[in-house]
Subunit: 158 residues, 2 copies
DNA sequence: GGAACCTTCACCCGAAAGTATGAAAATTGC
DNA sequence: GCAATTTTCATACTTTCGGGTGAAGGTTCC
């Protein structure tokens, strides 16, 4: 209904997520810079005090191993949002699901009926129907099972 | 009717996951061993050919950074699926789905309606309804969306 | 301040799905 | 061959979904 008539030229609503993305990138860059600086300082320490190579190597390896694990965990956790609806998801078409729609979609994926979703979110059944219809339109499907398959392919729901 | 009476003796199917777990552990151990071996070989290389310390350090750091990221990703992915207590909830009842039922279940997971499934398998709509109902009973659910969620947890459908 | 969107809710109607019950062929296992 | 199952199909009924249309209030951005 809201989507069948407009061509949807641009969606300028996700500048927030972009900003956060850049912040994240910069943060990571700084972290790496710190690690390298630390490495260099260790190197100086090594050259001035003639530490054993083994110790130096081991420390470096351990340091970067920890850094790698930390980074890996960060990235890994980003993939599975939980509880809260998280940010809007980009879609093949330049349509994205709103937070409420993602919330409803997740409850659908848990096998709840529209009525159960309505009860859980303290909303009217008609409201849930509106949300589901918007979801179907945006995903280009017409049933909830199809929506589930598509959402899984798009990694919106696990 | 067909499901409420039988004990269904043979279900020797979940020692597989344990074996896979052990395999995973062993694989991880071997990976670490390889990393250490590689490190040592680099060390020998360094000592015999007088490579620059910087290069050696950099390689070590990079290697362990990659290893750490890999490990972090693995752990991060493993941690998320069990937000719910789903440890021993593997089998609802010791009932198995028949081949036809699995076939129908897969088509359901692709988002097809009962009528579409009937057309695809050259069967009657009522037949598909019977199959779906059997599936629901065996999986202990009431709706196809719930069946999908359960089937995914049981790894019947991807 | 208006455009575009999100969120909420309403009513109606037809289609799809689910529930209950039954039963006849086909199959598989012993 | 016989029993147990699976597979097939049926009727009848209720519930849930999907699609259409409309609308009011809120936000975000330009």
């Amino acid at each position: 209904m809201l989507l069948t008539k407009k061509p949807q030229v641009k969606t300028t609503r996700n500048s927030k997520s972009k900003k956060e993305f850049y912040k994240y990138i910069i943060f990571m860059g700084l972290l790496l810079a710190c690690a390298i600086a630390l490495l260099k300082s260790f190197e100086y320490y090594y050259f001035s005090y003639k530490l054993r190579t083994d110790v130096y190597i081991g420390l470096t390896a351990f340091l970067f191993l920890c850094l790698g694990i930390f980074l890996g965990l960060k990235v890994g956790k980003k993939k599975n949002p939980d509880e809260k609806p998280s940010l809007p998801v980009k879609l093949p078409l330049n349509l994205e699901l709103s937070t409420r729609e993602i919330e409803v979609l997740k409850l659908i994926s848990e096998g709840l009926t529209n009525q159960e979703i309505a009860d859980k979110l303290y909303l009217s059944l008609n409201t849930i129907k509106s949300h589901t219809n918007s979801i179907y339109i945006k995903l280009g499907v017409n049933r909830r099972t199809q929506a589930l398959e598509k959402a899984r392919k798009l990694q919106i729901v696990p």
